[in-house]
């Protein structure tokens, strides 16, 4: 696609803009203009206000409903049907931690590997590389429950037949967020200027040495940000886990390969939310507060990371 085309489009837009503006100017009454502009600005502000109001209402409601259940018990106690005052989230917390540990272990090597392949080695004109790219973009848009179906049919039963164990849930979540990591890693790798690579090759390094010593270190902050964002997505996912067996009533800490069942934070919250009694509703809200705090911390860390280590070439 030639540079001339971009220039032509830009000109076209500029001319259209100028024409519209001039037309409007010629037609306009100055007084109506002021009112119209204030109204417009007001509408925009209202849009922002509604969005913010929604966010704050959610946070406030969660706090209001859940504050009665907030205590250290929440983290240390197992769930309880008979004694909701003593109930907590402990197995779910441990389950979630193990799940995302598994996700990280899978997603870092495979995600970085795929990104490096696509950016450094792949000949973009080949059809198989195009196929991989298209697949990654499609997979990023597939609804999370479809990944649950994949997990149920392929990982829990089917070829891998792992059973309803935590590792299966972890693998399902990892596949869900892998496209995100690949896309973020590709951006990070792509941002490294070509001159760095050429310099390294000129000095006699092999391609892999160049990647390992120059490209990869420079792109780690971007990759880390992408991984953290993907992990926080995995932490909050409920639907796929429902299909791959995250049981609710688990009072002991789960193990990765144990077949006694496991649980996760969002699933536990979901099940408390379904129960009518006020105590369980409060527990659900308290769990939500817990998750929001953790996620906020993670996302802030990711943003700080991006700002602090963003390299300007």
């Amino acid at each position: 696609m030639a540079v001339g085309d971009a220039g032509a489009s830009r000109n076209r837009l500029a001319v259209a803009g100028a024409r519209a503006t001039t037309k409007a100017m010629l037609r306009q009454q100055p007084r109506g203009d002021v009112i119209r502009n204030t109204l417009f600005a007001g509408l925009l502000l209202m849009a922002v206000a509604i969005a913010l109001a929604g966010l704050f209402a959610l946070l406030i409601q969660a706090f209001a409903k859940g504050s009665s259940a907030l205590s250290l018990d929440l983290i240390t106690n197992p769930p309880s049907t008979a004694f909701p005052e003593k109930a907590g989230y402990r197995p779910a917390i441990v389950g979630s931690l193990m799940l995302i540990a598994g996700v990280i272990l899978f997603v870092i090597p495979v995600g970085i590997g795929a990104a490096l392949y696509l950016e450094e080695y792949a000949d973009k004109s080949r059809w198989w590389n195009k196929l991989i790219e298209v697949n990654i973009q499609n997979l990023a848009a597939v609804p999370s429950i479809i990944y649950g179906i994949l997990g149920l049919a392929f990982i829990v039963r089917g070829p891998l037949d792992l059973g309803f164990i935590l590792a299966a849930g972890s693998l399902t979540l990892a596949l869900l967020v892998l496209p995100m990591v690949i896309i973020a890693a590709r951006e990070a790798v792509r941002a490294v200027p070509d001159s760095i690579r050429q310099g390294s090759l000129a000095l006699g390094a092999t391609q892999w040495q160049t990647i390992r010593a120059q490209v990869l270190p420079a792109s780690i902050p971007g990759i880390a940000t992408g991984v953290i964002l993907a992990v926080s997505r995995a932490l909050g996912e409920t639907a796929p886990l429902l299909l791959v067996g995250a049981t609710v009533f688990v009072t002991f800490d789960p193990t990765p390969f144990g077949s006694d069942g496991y649980s996760a934070m969002p699933v536990q919250i979901f099940n408390y939310a379904l129960r009518p009694q006020e105590e369980f509703q409060a527990l659900a809200a308290a769990g939500i507060i817990l998750m929001l705090v953790v996620l906020l911390a993670m996302n802030s860390f990711a943003i700080w990371l991006r700002n602090r280590y963003e390299q300007r070439w």
């Binding site: 837009l13 119209r36 849009a47 969660a62 080695y121 690949i182």
Partner: protein, 322 residues
Amino acid sequence: MSSGTAIAPEPAGGPPRRLQASSKRRGEKAIQWLLAFCGVLSVLTTTAIVASLIIPTIDFFNVVPIDEFLFGTDWSPQFEPPSFGVLAVVAGTLNVTFWGMLFAIPIGLGSAVYLSEYASPRVRKTLKPVLEILAGIPTVAIGFFAVSFILPEIIVPLWPNALLGGAAGKPFMALAAALGIGLMVVPIIASISEDAMSAVPRGLREGAYALGATKAKVAMRVVFPAALSGIVASVVLAISRAAGETMIVVLAAGSTPQFTLNPVEPIQAMTSYIATTATGDISTGSLDYRSVFAVGTVLFVMTLVMNVISIRLVRKYREVYD
């Protein structure tokens, strides 16, 4: 990007020299294959998804005629006698998505225009991350908010009783889920549209200002059309996310499949049907079980089509500024 086989120009009287190291480190090829495998994994995943959906779906169509499935409007697979018209749950998805987008598009675009054209840099720096927080909230939390707050405290008191059957006495309805979903996708629309608008060259704006245009004119007549591709892409992405959302619909929209777009009726969407049925009281291999995969196939195809459209749109308009 480097391909590793660059060739140096031929020096006077000698064979062409490659920029690749003359002594190949052991394992270069092996590493390349390993990395290639990581890439191929994505293709394998897609294949696995398609396979896991298609096989039970074909089994399903051995029992249920495909025209009853695709064109029927009564979805009651577990009633006696069962009926398998998928349009009811498709309508449920469309119902929630439509009303959700009706909320999210003005709010999202309004916020984007405000952030891009009206807000001072300091305001933008604080406001944008705050909106991003909305994007990071787990959907189960939004669903809980929708059913325990939006429905009883906002919809039921404010909705006129005479309109479309009224909202009173309904523990679940599409609108509650729709508003929750709308809230969830506002950051997607706002963020991507704002990025697109920021990418519009300043020169275009300044030219319009120089001609005496007001901020509103510049925003709507110059910047908005220029960033249209990114805006449209963000909307299509948001629609895709909204249609694929599960937990909010499960918690707030109910489980009554109805072929309606009425927002104050309880409905069942494709995603909520899959979620509640696959975890519930059905046995593997039964017709109900297979219906889950059939619905999953419809959902997968729908989001795939939307994704293809969105990629086309983005590619078509991205050329403008490259």
